[in-house]
């Protein structure tokens, strides 16, 4: 499975010169908790609602401060066409919850640990279904073939 196929939620991005107020409004309107910050389409940082509070409000930044003042940078990326197992490996080896998915260096989507957990849960459910049926319902042996 390609990494891009595991991206469930749409990604939202803003340019680095947008303000904290703009970022907060976009998050609210789009229903997302994180925005990719891009420059010429390339991801240069990520800003979360938590960043707005801890690095912005808590430090007394004005609401018209630039969003790149509070973003996390650099961004860990993964190629859109790479195998999903590669994304698992990145999450395993980095303390991340979100991964920027890129194609030729340009941002195309955001993969979250939530996306992977949903896929894993669905796979586990599919695997356990026949076992559950076997436990709940009487086990039926196939009849032995008639002996001549």
């Amino acid at each position: 499975m390609r990494t891009i196929e595991a991206v469930r939620r749409s990604g939202v991005a803003v340019e680095a010169d947008r303000t904290l107020r703009d970022a907060a409004t976009v998050m609210e309107q789009a229903g997302v908790g994180a925005l990719m910050v891009v420059e010429q389409g390339r991801p240069i940082g990520i800003v979360t609602d938590r960043d707005l509070v801890r690095r912005g409000l808590a430090r007394g930044l004005a609401t018209n401060a630039r969003v790149d003042a509070v973003m996390s940078s650099p961004v860990v990326t993964i190629d859109a066409d790479s195998d999903l197992h590669d994304a698992f490996a990145v999450f395993r080896t980095n303390p991340l919850r979100r991964l920027a998915v890129v194609r030729e260096g340009r941002f195309v989507g955001m993969l979250t640990i939530d996306d992977l957990l949903i896929d894993l849960a669905a796979d586990l459910s599919d695997l356990s279904r026949p076992l559950t049926a076997e436990m709940l319902f009487a086990h039926r042996d196939n009849p032995l073939p008639a002996t001549p």
Partner: protein, 86 residues
């Protein structure tokens, strides 16, 4: 049409509406208007405007998004006809 149709690529035009379905029970669907198509042949990303806030952002559709196309040429023809009748 969802983002996963036609080989994963959404196609949209300026003025189209993109709907993002809610992810949790009770979470409403959200929608935005396409202001500019930044990709090739109507592909993403799109510069969109969210609701009434007037805030624009770049949008990269996932499998939760679908596009509602509008016949812009038809709308313009109808507008022209209505103005002609004024």
């Amino acid at each position: 049409m969802t983002a996963k149709d036609e080989g994963d690529v959404m196609r949209a035009s300026v003025g189209d509406r993109i709907v993002i379905r809610g992810h949790h029970i009770g979470e409403p669907d959200r929608d935005c208007e396409v202001l500019e198509v930044r990709g090739e042949d109507g592909g993403p990303p799109y510069e969109v405007r969210w609701g009434d806030s007037g805030q624009a952002a770049l949008f990269f559709p996932g499998s939760d998004a679908s596009v509602q196309h509008f016949d812009h040429a038809k709308d313009e023809r109808q507008d022209g006809a209505s103005h002609a009748n004024d």
